[in-house]
Symmetry: C2
Subunit: 84 residues, 2 copies
């Protein structure tokens, strides 16, 4: 079954799209990315190993379960061949 | 015209595949990722803002031009719906 729609998805959608295809320059596509990679990246943004203020602001307050939901959601989306 | 095959591609292929589809757990898919995001991520691995030893070892010695070539190459690949 496809993953449930995360309650926190709105935090991500402005830049990454609900479908995981980037909406702003500089933001990555997340659709179809490897689930464990996404989950590790989210943790690194949260704990600062990835020192990116914008992302620390977005995911700083999120729980592990919320990070799991977001990684499950975006990894399950179908990647499209967007503009490079 | 599709980008030239980067001389340094072999450095990446073991984990990311020449086609940008991850070959090992934990490595991200790079195929079809946003070009500027990839280029920024590579710079962050090189300068340590992304404190990931494995990637610092891989891209530490690379020049800006070599990072450009790799970002051009992988962003031009077609993403496949791999296993999440």
């Amino acid at each position: 079954a496809p993953p449930a729609r995360p309650a926190r998805l709105g935090l991500c959608a402005a830049c990454h799209g609900e479908d995981g295809m980037a909406r702003i320059p500089g933001a990555p596509n997340l659709a179809g990315q490897k689930r464990d990679y996404l989950r590790a990246a989210l943790a690194q943004y949260r704990d600062g190993r990835r020192d990116i203020p914008m992302m620390r602001a977005a995911v700083g307050p999120l729980t592990d379960a919320e990070l799991d939901q977001l990684a499950d959601w975006f990894s399950a989306q179908t990647p499209a061949k967007g503009a490079p």
